[in-house]
């Protein structure tokens, strides 16, 4: 009887442990109460996230609508602006590009040495004509271009000032020889066919070289004289000649020499 009882206890324990282990393997150790509690919490979290998302979606929809409305207002305002200028957006773009090209050209001419610049006078003047035509356009008054056009006009004015000196820079020079060999004096130099072919134009050389000629009767070998372009004597040159002859006359009357 005792043995039977012992056997029954062992069998019972085995049965209990079998039931327990069978439940462990199939249910992955989640008790129903825990599952229920977690599901309640997860459902609340999901619902809360859905609300947040819904709020964001409607906010985004409102923002999209605001942006579309702003876009429309902007386009309308832009049409009004272009209407004031009497141009299209394409004209504005073309003007912008033309300004950029012109700025590049003016800049490159400004970087040129005087001699090179003088060699490109015609092209520089063409740029000036183009700039004038652009300045005449209403678009030159638009804020986008106004200061750029002004800056270009200033840069071009500098070019013009430099070009104005081209004639002077193109002036020929003459290196004075010796009296013994070349018979060089202002009168004789002026008489040379390659200079003026006219001795009476000597005051032109005198006035152009006043910085180095103090007395027209006295020039020195190896002096380099500027030879202005041929033409009638200017007022200043005539006055210089008159003063010279008057002084000569005075000296001959008084019999003094210098």
């Amino acid at each position: 009887m005792k043995n039977f009882m012992l056997l029954a206890v062992v069998a019972m324990l085995f049965a209990i442990s079998s039931v327990a282990s069978a439940q462990d393997t199939t249910q992955q150790e989640m008790k129903f109460d825990d599952w229920q509690a977690q599901m309640t919490s997860l459902t609340a979290q999901r619902d809360s996230l859905k609300m947040v998302l819904s709020g964001l979606d409607s906010n985004n929809a409102a923002l999209k609508s605001q942006l579309a409305s702003l876009d429309q207002q902007y386009q309308s305002e832009m049409q009004k602006y272009l209407g004031m200028l009497g141009v299209t957006q394409a004209d504005m773009t073309a003007f912008d590009q033309a300004l950029t090209t012109l700025a590049g050209q003016i800049d490159s001419y400004n970087k040129m040495a005087d001699q090179d610049l003088c060699a490109h006078q015609t092209e520089v003047k063409a740029v000036g004509t183009q700039l004038d035509s652009m300045k005449a356009s209403k678009m030159a008054l638009a804020a986008e271009f106004y200061s750029r056009v002004q800056d270009l006009a200033n840069s071009y004015a500098q070019l013009q000032a430099r070009i104005a000196n081209c004639a002077e820079m193109a002036m020929k020079t003459y290196t004075v020889g010796t009296w013994a060999r070349n018979r060089d004096c202002l009168w004789n130099i002026s008489k040379k066919p390659k200079i003026y072919d006219d001795p009476w134009k000597w005051p032109k050389i005198y006035v152009a070289n006043r910085d180095q000629i103090k007395n027209p009767d006295l020039i020195h070998p190896k002096e380099i004289l500027k030879i202005p372009a041929n033409g009638p004597l200017s007022k200043e040159e005539s006055a210089a000649a008159k003063a010279y002859y008057a002084k000569k006359a005075r000296m001959s009357r008084t019999g003094t020499g210098e």
Binding site: M5, A8, V9, M12, A15, I16, V19, A20, Q23, T26, Q27, Q28, E29, M30, K31, F32, D33, D34, W35, Q38, M39, L42, T43, Q45, R46, L49, K50, V52, L53, L56, D57, N59, N60, L63, K64, Q66, L67, L70, D71, Q73, Y74, E77, M78, K80, Y81, M84, L85, K138, L141, A142, A143, E144, Y146
Partner: protein, 88 residues
């Protein structure tokens, strides 16, 4: 002897009656977690979109302000260039 037998039967009942989540319930929970994860991603995307839209609106407002300033500038310059005409 009876007491021992009773104890055994009681312990067997207790062990066998604890309720666990079944496979469908576990799957339901997994689906719920996936749904939450997907919602979190959607929120992130929506927040990014929100921020982008706000920036676009701010940029457009700046553009509008600049355009209005340009209009005013042009009006003044046109007025100065042609004082007889009035711009509307």
């Amino acid at each position: 002897m009876r007491a021992v037998l009773g104890l055994m039967v009681a312990s067997l009942i207790i062990a066998g009656c604890t309720k666990y989540a079944d496979k469908d319930q576990v799957q339901q929970m997994t689906d719920m977690k996936n749904q939450i994860s997907s919602l979190q991603q959607q929120i992130q995307t929506a927040q990014q979109q929100n921020s982008d839209l706000k920036k676009q609106i701010s940029d457009k407002q700046d553009q509008m302000k600049k355009l209005q300033d340009n209009e005013q500038f042009l009006q003044q310059k046109l007025q100065a260039a042609h004082p007889d005409t009035t711009q509307h």
